[in-house]
Amino acid sequence: MSIGTVKDLVKVDDYEVAEGLFYHKEHLWVRKDDGKVRIGMTDFALKKLREIVWVELPSAGDDITQNQSFGTLESVKATQDLVAPISGTIGKVNDKLTSKPRLLNEDPYGEGWIIVVEPTTKIDVELKEIMNFEAAVKWHKELTEGG
């Protein structure tokens, strides 16, 4: 797979957090990848949603804006907005998710990636506004202790 490498997965309670990634509070992760940015959803959010049965994604060429919804996931239980963790132009959409949405649950940091984005020049500023790995681990601890 040319997905790039996930260095390490840390488990907080039942939920995996991947090292080297950035995390938005709406549960999307960001990985810098040769000047591009790959985006997916956290294991925590996907385990809470349970089986994803449907994805609604934009197309390559569409723009996304930080903190704004760019698509939805539907699980048996609930609908989840996909909120952009950073801004940019979509280069690639993971088409496999349309026919096999369960990839999201099975491999959230790998084959279950959602889009690859060409970021804007604001990328460094935007990444500072979201969580790095250490902050995300702490956040996951708060999430799991809360309930």
Binding site: R50, W54, E74, K77
Partner: protein, 378 residues
């Protein structure tokens, strides 16, 4: 009681094999292997549910039949011993206080199984209404383990572990039996649309769970050859929705009457006085303004609770439950819409976020009853 909720006899099994969620004061399994595989096990083979959280009362006494005929809408006089029926209790306005299955265990002993969330409310209501009747109402919820064995292979599975010949028990009939050596009461009922049984192991308090655990494991073992799956609340919800059955708190509540919910088969207006009768007769005469309908979504998207329903850009109702149907592989929902639009096969729109999604009115159940459910051709 644990601050997160009460545990059933099988809590340890659930926690080890499934995901636990708080539900109606209990810590219940939402799923084990996954909602979809559990759902499909029930539609094609057999599934086992722990539904011990349900509220259960025993009503006894020489006045029991008359009392139950007064507080419930179905005709209790027609319930001969060892039969059961679906029914509701209404308030004076005809609004549904709860829906439940009532079985007659003996001439003067009835067993009522109702929603966990309404346990306290119902017990108080029943007790209050019983003032002028010589009856005893006992909440036995904490002393009875309750499992549902559901699916086309339910009978074959259960037959291996009970003494009673199950072919003698027709749908909505009941029996006493021995289940892995313990006294059990069972009814050929369920909340999935499939053939199956609900099994009650009496005198089994949660503090002494052994008999319940043995029975559970025995059923799982017996169902192995049919690929039995333990099933959680997630599959219970998708199964009942596909079958077109109401969920209290979503599809029915005190603001909805059984006529609006289109479960009028449980309302026997010809019987003597019962709570809500006058209001229901009046409504029947005038006709209902809104009705519960089934919606099958024709595009992608899943309607959810509170989404609005439109016809020709006019709002005509709202969704009360919606999910992804594992069998139909599309969104399905129940909605209340203005009666004049409640015509089978008609197309309406559901507003899902900013989009208007096409949906078709269907007759319950959502599946082909010749192919699935208890009416399937063997």
């Amino acid at each position: 009681m644990d601050e997160q909720g009460k545990k059933t006899h099988l809590y340890r099994f659930h926690a080890q094999n499934g995901k636990i969620v708080p539900f109606a004061g209990f810590q219940m399994p939402v799923s084990y292997k996954g909602i979809i595989p559990e759902h499909m096990a029930v539609r094609t083979g057999v599934g086992l549910f722990d539904v011990t959280h349900m509220g259960r009362v025993v009503v006894t006494g020489t006045n029991a039949e008359a009392f139950l005929n007064y507080v419930t809408t179905n005709d209790v006089a027609r319930l001969v011993p060892l039969t059961a029926h679906y029914s509701v209790m209404c308030n004076e306005e005809g609004g549904i206080k709860d829906d439940f299955v009532l079985s007659r265990q003996k001439e003067d002993r009835f067993f009522m199984v109702y929603n966990a969330a309404n346990r306290l409310k119902n017990f108080q209501w029943l007790t209050k209404q019983a003032a002028n009747y010589s009856v005893n109402i006992t909440d036995v919820s904490d002393d009875v383990a309750m499992f549902a064995v559901q699916g086309p292979k339910a009978e074959e599975t259960l037959q291996k572990v009970v003494t009673k010949d199950l072919s003698e028990i027709a749908r909505f009939k009941c029996s006493w039996t021995k289940l892995s050596g313990f006294d059990a009461f069972m009814s050929r009922t369920g909340y999935t649309g499939e053939d199956g049984f609900e099994v009650f192991i009496h005198n089994t308090p949660i503090s002494n769970p052994r008999n319940a655990i043995v029975a559970w494991n025995t059923i799982l073992e017996a169902g192995k050859e049919f690929n039995i799956e333990p099933c959680g609340l997630g599959a219970r919800d998708t199964l009942r929705l596909e079958a077109g059955m109401c969920l209290y708190g979503n599809d029915i509540d005190e603001n909805v009457t059984p006529l609006e919910a289109r479960i009028s088969f449980v309302v026997k207006l010809k019987k003597e006085d019962f709570i809500g009768k006058e209001a229901l007769i009046k409504q029947k005469t005038h006709g209902v303004e809104k009705k519960r309908v089934g919606l099958k979504v024709l595009e992608s998207g899943i309607p959810r609770f509170k989404h609005e329903v439109f016809k020709d850009r006019m709002k005509i109702g709202y969704i009360t439950s919606g999910t992804f149907s594992p069998l139909l592989k599309r969104g399905i929902a129940m909605a209340y819409i203005q009666s004049k639009y409640a015509v089978i096969d008609e197309i309406v729109h559901v507003k899902i976020r900013s989009k208007q999604i096409k949906a078709q009115l269907i007759k319950f159940p959502f599946y082909d009853p010749g192919q699935y459910g208890h009416t399937r051709k063997k």
